[in-house]
Symmetry: C2
Amino acid sequence: MAALAVLLLVVAAVEGGAAWSFWPPAAGDEPYCLSWRVMVEANNAKNWPTVPPPCVGYVWRYMAWGQYARDVAGVADQIAAYAAQLAAGDDGLDAWVFDVDDTCLSNLFYYQAKQFGAYDPVAFKKWASKAICPGVPGMAQLFQMLRGRGFRVFILSGRDQQTLASSTAANLAAAGFAGYDRLIMRSAEYRGMSAVVFKSAMRMQLMEEGYRIRGNVGDQWSDLQGDFVGDRVFKVPNPMYFVP
Amino acid sequence: MAALAVLLLVVAAVEGGAAWSFWPPAAGDEPYCLSWRVMVEANNAKNWPTVPPPCVGYVWRYMAWGQYARDVAGVADQIAAYAAQLAAGDDGLDAWVFDVDDTCLSNLFYYQAKQFGAYDPVAFKKWASKAICPGVPGMAQLFQMLRGRGFRVFILSGRDQQTLASSTAANLAAAGFAGYDRLIMRSAEYRGMSAVVFKSAMRMQLMEEGYRIRGNVGDQWSDLQGDFVGDRVFKVPNPMYFVP
């Protein structure tokens, strides 16, 4: 029966090709939405413009009711265990890179209010400029642990530098991210470029300055792919939106 | 409360460092085991020697009770939708690469009998030589769809060529994987090398022969990382074992 369902699915997929048309889940279909969420985390599902409409309630519950916090704690645990095996060199060049949005600072309230809808750059900028994002649970402690172990920490964000630099710095400080080496944001010359291109260029600069990126933490695969990604990358869960 | 738990977790992790000692889930702790499974799929959890003992029952249920089949169907759907956008060139050089174990052929019965325990090369070779693996649900149909669309399909396996070539070919045929271009297995000179090194070398040969790897499908991240991985990679779920 399962094999038949898969066969029908594949046949339908071949004939249809569209992403969500041929396998419509019922609203609140948890097992389907779980499959979708795992595909997002494994980078099998790409370029999705919004959370699939039948999964909006599921994502809400996932984010708010404990499993997201548990998943983030699991990743933090992996990062801590990995970092515990590393020794930061005396030259001060062993570094970690952290993304901002939904890696250090949570935009859950914004995306919940938007019902996890399509990206709205004007509204998002307004939200980000308020500097009221809570920290992603556990990330500030992890950040301070890495600093305490002698690592430099660089914050690398695709947020627009000109308009959001001060609010982003204020928000990071309020959420406990004090003592990073540099907050690197998207300057005018990188506007419109993909996150992979922009972030690869910024990491190349760090490499050229002599830094060794020992770890790289982000909620988007575009934070973690491209050039000079670092010795090990960690994917923080995020089923709310996709950044190419 | 969640934040406190995360803090305690991180502190414990920093002090402990071991993978499963500081956050012991109760047996059958589904939310914890789900976090672990997602970390495996996202390549956050690496080099785990066995399924965490408290999650053995969870993995059994995941594999046998429908969610695994649903997750595989989701990935097959993504592959089909991606392939539908591609046009195979008339030169016959557009190719896909598929792994064997738990990508085309399922070892679920073997690992269930072993209670998802540590890798046992002798017992696994005995199992594989029987050539009785069922197909992973939907994968043979997907394979035939790709061939029908004009792609060459290469099967690339870390299984030992000398001892398992004939049983692997027989098992693939029995499970519906007919018409692949080449079954590439680990020859004597690659024994003991990591999957990433061996598979990168084999993909380089394909590239040198002029093939364009349009897609690469595997259940291990070591199938999908390294050199010449292809235009797009697809991670088939597998919480049963980790191949470095």
